[in-house]
Symmetry: C2
Subunit: 479 residues, 2 copies
């Protein structure tokens, strides 16, 4: 009887979308006072957005040279009617072929992908939810090595009812995933009566920017095979790898291991990070399991890629010369950015976890914490947001067990803005050092700043559902 009076669903009234986390205050601070080099040079710089905006010019050049690839140009509009009415949930055959080829190329050409296993989802967000709907029932759990992407709560669990069971990793071994940590998390879950259906890893890791080596991938496969649970490899940052290292995909290791049950292996891919095209909502599930392909394809209906977009990308991604060049140049540009930023931090004694991929670094500010706790981290973070005016993302929002790490994105801005950000960090650390020498006398900056932050938020009247921040990380579909 009680239930009758609930007008909306439990999903609509629970908080499992994750947007009410205090972490999003940082996005609000940015939205309310965004940096602009001339109009608002004292505004907040957005370093919480994991976008790859460094190589859009290459895509623009290609588009200019290939007007026939669009259904909206004089050269391509004769295809408009056929394409705009195309809604087959398998996708355009040319699109699937081009995506399969692109995925292979991103993985060094050492593996091939079958176009008939390419399943479309609505961005990586939709693809991750789709694979959960295929694999797990409400209440079932997936193991997720921490630190992990904050919006996994929404993507994996909000509507599916799937639980996340963290596999705690820490800096003692550079946050590597070990068999021991997996076993511990698995056993704990089982003891708690939780049905573990699988393991999901991001490779390259968001937020770490590191990649899994062959041994670790073999270890994961061995683990999931022994337990007879699934592995989902979210490889949406595959093409952001830089430097001399090769990216090793689970698809490569699967082919090397004789007794692996391929029905347990699934990959999520996307063009949001690899090509810097998050607006185009290309999410892909690639499964080695026929039943998952079959079922997932039916679920594609809920998040098909626009046929206009499929058509353009089919043409672009089947241009091998373009893809080859794009991947090489994009990787070089990310490497350069990474180098400028990390070297700039090094100069003032700030280190980052060594990384070889991603569009962010995992910055270590543990030495600046007053106390090595989440509260200590939040206090420092509020200073960074409100005084240094950088929106960076604290460790706690990635469910990390170790306070004092921050994910800092560096590829969603121009060179000049990055320089401004670095200068601000330099100035801040300089001040901190001065403060430290005086710390015995004045130990009150933290509390004062907290107060100033609270009152500001209050004044700005944040909270109206419809006027909600349009640029918050969860408002954005996938960061």
């Amino acid at each position: 009887m009680e239930r009758k009076h609930q007008l909306l669903s439990q999903i609509a009234t629970n908080d499992r979308h994750g947007e009410n986390s205090p972490y999003f205050d940082g996005w609000k601070a940015y939205d309310n006072n965004p940096f602009h080099p001339t109009n608002n040079p004292d505004g907040v710089i957005q370093m919480g957005l994991a976008e790859n905006q460094l190589s859009a010019d290459l895509i623009v050049d290609w588009i200019k040279k290939h007007p026939e690839a669009s259904i909206c140009t004089p050269e391509g509009v004769h295809m408009f009617k056929d394409i705009a009415s195309f809604q087959d949930y398998h996708g355009l055959p040319e699109f699937r072929q081009a995506i399969a080829k692109f995925m292979g190329r991103v993985r060094g050409g050492r593996v091939t992908f079958d176009p008939d296993r390419i399943v479309m989802g609505g961005g990586a967000t939709g693809a991750n939810e789709l694979i959960m709907f295929c694999l797990a029932d409400p209440g079932d759990a997936f193991l997720v090595p921490s630190p992990y992407y904050p919006a996994f709560y929404r993507d994996l669990g909000w509507r599916t009812g799937v639980q996340i069971v963290p596999v705690d990793c820490d800096s003692s071994n550079n946050f590597q995933i070990t068999r021991g940590a997996l076993e511990a998390a698995y056993d704990k879950a089982r003891q708690d009566g939780i049905n573990v259906k699988g393991l999901i890893v991001t490779n390259p890791s968001n937020p770490l920017g590191t990649t899994l080596d062959r041994e670790t991938l073999k270890c994961l496969l061995s683990f999931i095979n022994e337990k007879n649970i699934h592995i989902v490899c979210d490889e949406i940052y595959a093409a952001t790898i830089f430097g001399s290292s090769n990216f090793i995909s689970i698809s490569e290791v699967v082919e090397e291991i004789m007794d692996c049950n391929r029905d347990l292996v699934h990959i999520v891919s996307s063009l949001s990070k690899d090509m810097g095209l998050p607006g185009l909502r290309v999410g892909i599930v690639y499964s080695y399991n026929d039943a998952v392909v079959n079922c997932g394809r039916k679920m594609s209906s809920f998040g098909l890629v626009s046929s206009q977009t499929q058509y353009l990308l089919a043409s672009m991604l089947s241009d091998e010369e373009f893809v080859e060049n794009f991947l090489a140049v994009s990787s070089k540009r990310i490497e350069k950015r990474h180098s400028i930023f990390t070297k700039g931090l090094e100069q003032i004694g700030i280190s980052c976890l060594e990384s070889n991929a991603g569009v962010f670094v995992w910055m270590n500010l543990r030495h600046l914490l007053e106390e090595q706790t989440n509260d200590g981290e939040m206090a420092l973070w509020r200073v960074i947001i409100n005084d240094v005016k950088l929106n960076v993302s604290p460790s706690s929002s990635f469910h990390c067990v170790e306070p004092g790490w921050f994910r800092v994105c560096f590829a969603n801005m121009d060179d000049e803005t990055l320089e401004v950000a670095l200068k601000r960090i330099h100035a801040f650390v300089g001040e901190q050092k001065e403060r430290e020498t005086l710390s015995a006398k004045t130990k009150c900056w933290k509390k004062n700043l907290r107060l100033s932050f609270s009152s500001r938020i209050f004044e700005e009247g944040i909270g109206s559902p419809i006027a909600m921040s349009p640029h918050s990380p969860l408002v954005r579909a996938r960061n």
Copy 2:
């Protein structure tokens, strides 16, 4: 313990996506032998696909004149980077404004829509699922007047766990929805211990092609207000209305009724039928309930419209002169098609339910049934598919209580193909009349044809999951 051994989810292993219905044999027959005027003049004509392909030329003309509206033309490519990286789940403000204006225009300009209540879904398929996730828990039910769209099982219930409770309508009152039928279905569900969360209606109706009058809409609002349950009006065929009648949207009646609880009222809209653009995956939830808007927007992340597509449509739909002309011309062309087809049927004594909207008719073949049962309907339908070679959709697939009705689509082909279809129906009915005179002697056509159909299916080896028919009605996201 048993559960541990189930590798996939219950959703993945149940049949609730609805694709295993025998009805889809018709689509397979079409896919295996599609009509072509010169290459395959004896092939199956597709009359099961509710597409509006009559006015694409107007859109193509507009695109040619507005190269700046695309991010892939020399005139528009400077916007590529900004648009391709735009992933805000509110959507482009211009897009929401244009959609709101378009929705108002389609409804005769008698109501206005607030752009801040426009929530994006992945096509109408995604939009319908989204609103169910917001309103109902697994096991809860929605009342749905029958006959109804076959893929509602998938859209409303497959992943959400929501049940459909049919509200039976029949030809005794031209399939109108009555308060009595609503109450009966509601009471029956309650007696069965089912929690009814709302009512969903298609207006204009798919498959009937009829619209709800003001009195009926008032009756529905009064019913749902009394019961304190939701109403979802799926108005995706709103712009297919033709003739002298006005389309009356629930939005119009809501404004007329003083004590209506607007928190219970939600509209689903789309451009798939109204503009004939199903490939572009524009589905919209318009809710008068703030909490639903707020929650639905977060769910948009799973099925955002491609920003490339949003940008194009924002420009196109804000061109009032174009929209005005498109709606007028499109309506006239649908009316003409409808008239040619229904008059052609009348000549041989076949009537259709009187209709004023949609891209199909509800054709009455009850007089041709050997027995007035679902078996009788299936027998006739197999003859139509296999011998007359028309893929039409039988009453039973729309969960209609009355056998012998068929939904026949007429706007997804050219004039010449429609003529061929009419000729085939004429010939078939002629033969039927001859047969009737001989019926006492030879009563075996039905069984023979059934056998020949079965063997054909067997030879073609349908059933492989990956080679599955790419043009079946559920493969297509929304028909």
